[in-house]
Amino acid sequence: MSKKILKLSKSRGMTLVELLIYLAITMIVLVVVIDLVTRVAQVKSHSVGQEEISSNARFLTDRITYAVQASSSIDGSYPSNNLNLTVNGLATSFSLNNGQIFYTEGFGSPAALTNTLVEIIPPQGGYIFTKITNGSSSTIQVTFQVRFKQNNFTRDFQTSVLERGK
């Protein structure tokens, strides 16, 4: 009995210290795991937004580049959020409407070049399309911001395209 009591009391003291250590370790592990989970979630969201923004921006700049290079004239006045071109004799336009860029060729109906997951925003205090003229050659500078609506993540884009078809 006395042996058992001695053994018990000895066992209890150890348990308290152990408990404290366990608690401390658990807390540390929890903090690390929660931090990691949070980061993973952020990365996923970041990645999805990034991908959405990139694919929209890339498609948009590619289409604008192709159209401007092939155009025989740049119509309308600039700077503007609408780009009006004549391509292969057809009136062709890129226009900003409700955060999306729409492409219209001839009398066809407008086709959205960007999806509704993102919003195309003109640069602050400016316009998407700017015309830069050197002699008889014209360049269209394209500047815009893309916002991923789900998490308000944004990226800015800027490039220029020379009108070639003379």
Binding site: L36, Q50, S137, S138
Partner: protein, 661 residues
């Protein structure tokens, strides 16, 4: 005891979890960074595209926007939208996008292209060279590199070649009606250049002048260059190469030798250095010992490539065997005078001479003799001087003598010239008859000269050979392709008092017969039966010529073109010049060009490749122009025609200059 084990296990467990986490966390970090890098690369690409497109816009506006900038990596530029216009600004720019700084610049580099020349296959002409070579600069091509870098990344560089657009060709083929700025009038008052015919710019004819057609080569005596009786002595025969090719055979004439079989001499070609042999054999010389006199053939084991128009020396010197000495030598034959002429064509060769190297002190000496040599080429052709003998021939009683020839070009002739002497002193023992000349068109069977047309009377001569010219009573037209016989006779002259005419000869064999005057088109002709029958000899030629009236072209003439106004106030680019001839360029004639450009339409400083006032463009097929002409608005060319043979002129059909706005 068991509980303590749990604590240890827990600590170990936590340690393991930490290890696993430390391995996983960097993976997520890489994922985050990778995702972040991709938008940076996209942005850099778009920014580089913008630079390139803006640079292209500047190029479209005016080539000089880019061309006149400083070139190379040390001179970066960037493009700025200045109130709706792209302008070039020095240095690199920083573009801040999404809170990241992108460093952006463009580099402008010169571009050179391969040009036509030895060793360049035709399909490679005009290719862009991998490394820039200023001498082949193409002023109408630039290399543009748009570079965008960010953070520690090298970023991206987009490279493109820009070429000048609005390429134009300035062609002139009609200079008549004073469609030029000026022509020289040094030789011909009406102009040394004849512009009267569209598509035929040629040298002007000197009024009243007379040219020659015939064998003007003469040999007064046969001699030797210098006896090679010392190991130190050398002899050289200097000549201007008449054709380009590989020489694999040398023929020389040994006039005398003693114990020639004991001495080996080197035979080979050397380049020219200040008139003397340059001292090193091209390829390697052949070695030979000759123990007989006369023409000898030396085959070159290693053919020597020579270029038409360049000066070479055929150099002979001791090689091995017994040393040359007073009783052990060879003598290389030559003739006098030095005609400075190629026998076959009558073309000038002002470099023709023999030289000998002797002393003391040892040095090269001009011998002022006619070199006697034949070069054999690996294609079976030959060139050189084969005339190793001369003879004077008596014209008397039934013995007529002259030259039979076939003309490749039609000629009008007004008279004839000939070396002639009296066999005895005409003041004491004159010939009993005149010397008569007869010219027959053998093709038509017509005698062109007057009956008994006197060439010279006996009292006009001396006992030495004099050059006598006689004018026909009227100008004779000799059609191309016809064969003619020109002969001299003096039926009343006797064996002791007669006329001597001069001829040269060579071995009656190939290739010598092909290398004497006019090759197989000209033969001596002899009759011993008062002209009833004639015998022709290929290996002998008379020293004579026919006078060709009014056909003497000015030796040279220059035309300065009208002005090309490119209309580009900032200056145009000039790329290439070429021209075409009517027919082939005649032997002994030259066509060459210089160009001048300016912005004031007044200061004309003409120059050739490299801009030097003494250099000329000489390749009719086309040559890249001196880059210093670029960036000037006005251009003129100067064309210079030259002939060393007054009976022929080069004729230019058109001149083209390729330029870019």
């Amino acid at each position: 005891m068991k509980k303590a084990q749990i604590l240890v296990e827990t600590i170990i467990g936590v340690g393991v979890v930490s290890l696993v986490l430390s391995a996983i966390v960097p993976l997520f970090l890489i994922g985050i960074r990778g995702s972040s890098e991709s938008w940076k690369a996209d942005t850099a690409r778009l920014l580089a595209q913008e630079s390139m497109e803006a640079a292209k816009s500047l190029k479209e506006e005016n080539w000089n926007n880019l061309y006149q900038q400083n070139k190379g990596n040390a001179n970066p530029y960037h493009l700025v939208n200045n109130a709706g216009t792209w302008v070039l600004a020095a240095g690199e720019e920083t573009v801040s996008i999404n809170n990241l700084d992108f460093k952006r610049k463009i580099i402008i580099d010169n571009v050179s292209r391969t040009i036509s020349g030895a060793g360049t296959p035709a399909w490679q002409f005009g290719e862009i060279e991998t490394s820039y070579n200023p001498t082949d600069d193409d002023p109408s091509t630039l290399k543009i590199t748009a570079d965008v870098s960010y953070e520690n990344s090298p970023g991206i560089a987009v490279m493109d070649y820009f070429t000048r657009n609005k390429n134009s060709l300035w062609e002139q083929t009609d200079w008549s009606g004073h469609n030029y700025s000026s022509i020289s009038t040094i030789f011909v008052p009406a102009g040394d250049i004849d512009t009267s015919t569209v598509g035929a710019l040629k040298l002007g004819k000197i009024p009243g002048a007379v040219a020659h057609y015939g064998n003007e080569f003469v040999t007064d005596s046969v001699t030797t260059i210098y006896r090679l009786n010392s190991p130190d002595y050398r002899v050289s025969m200097r000549f201007t190469a008449q054709q380009s090719g590989n020489v694999n055979q040398l023929r020389i004439y040994i006039a005398a030798q003693q114990r020639g079989n004991q001495v080996f001499y080197k035979y080979g070609l050397q380049g020219n250095s200040g008139g003397n042999p340059d001292g090193s054999y091209i390829s390697s010389p052949a070695t030979a010992n000759f123990s007989s006199t006369g023409w000898q053939t030396v085959n070159l084991g290693n053919p020597v490539s020579i270029t038409a128009g360049s000066v070479y020396h055929l150099v002979i010197q001791y090689d091995s065997g017994s040393a040359p000495a007073a009783n052990r030598y060879i003598d290389i034959c030559s003739t006098l005078p030095d005609n400075l002429t190629i026998p076959l064509s009558g073309a000038n060769d002002t470099n023709s001479d023999t030289l000998a190297y002797y002393g003391p002190p040892l040095a090269w000496h001009d011998r002022t003799q006619q070199p006697l040599y034949v070069l054999g080429f690996d294609d079976g052709s030959y060139e050189g001087n084969p005339y190793d003998a001369r003879a004077s021939r008596a014209i008397r009683s039934a013995r007529f003598e002259g030259e039979t020839f076939t003309l490749t070009d039609a000629r009008s002739v007004s008279g004839v010239g000939l070396y002639v002497a009296s066999s005895d002193d005409p003041l004491i023992h004159p010939a009993a008859d005149n010397l008569y000349v007869t010219l027959v068109d053998l093709t038509d069977g017509v005698v062109l000269t007057d009956p008994n047309e006197i060439f010279v009377d006996p009292l006009s001569l001396t006992t030495s050979f004099d050059w006598i010219e006689h004018s026909f009573s009227s100008t004779k037209t000799l059609p191309a392709g016809h064969q003619f016989r020109l002969y001299f006779s003096s039926p009343g002259s006797s064996p002791s008092r007669n006329y001597l005419i001069l001829n040269m000869s060579n071995p009656d064999a190939s290739p010598y017969n092909d290398l004497n005057w006019d090759g197989i088109n000209a033969l001596t002709t002899r009759s011993t039966d008062s002209g009833a029958t004639f015998t022709e000899s290929q290996f002998i030629d008379l020293s004579y010529y026919l006078l060709v009236p009014g056909d003497q072209y000015a030796p040279n003439g220059e035309l300065t073109s009208s002005t090309l106004d490119t209309g580009n106030a900032l200056g145009a680019g000039y790329n290439r010049i070429s021209w075409a001839l009517v027919g082939a360029l005649p032997t002994n004639t030259t066509v060459k060009m210089q160009l001048a450009a300016n912005n004031d339409n007044a200061t004309w400083q003409f120059g050739g490749p490299g801009g030097s006032i003494t250099s000329w463009y000489t390749l009719s097929a086309g040559e890249n122009l001196y880059t210093g002409l670029a960036s000037n608005r006005y251009l003129r060319y100067k064309i210079r025609l030259e002939t060393a043979d007054p009976t022929v002129t080069p004729t230019v059909d058109w001149v083209r200059i390729n330029w870019a706005y």
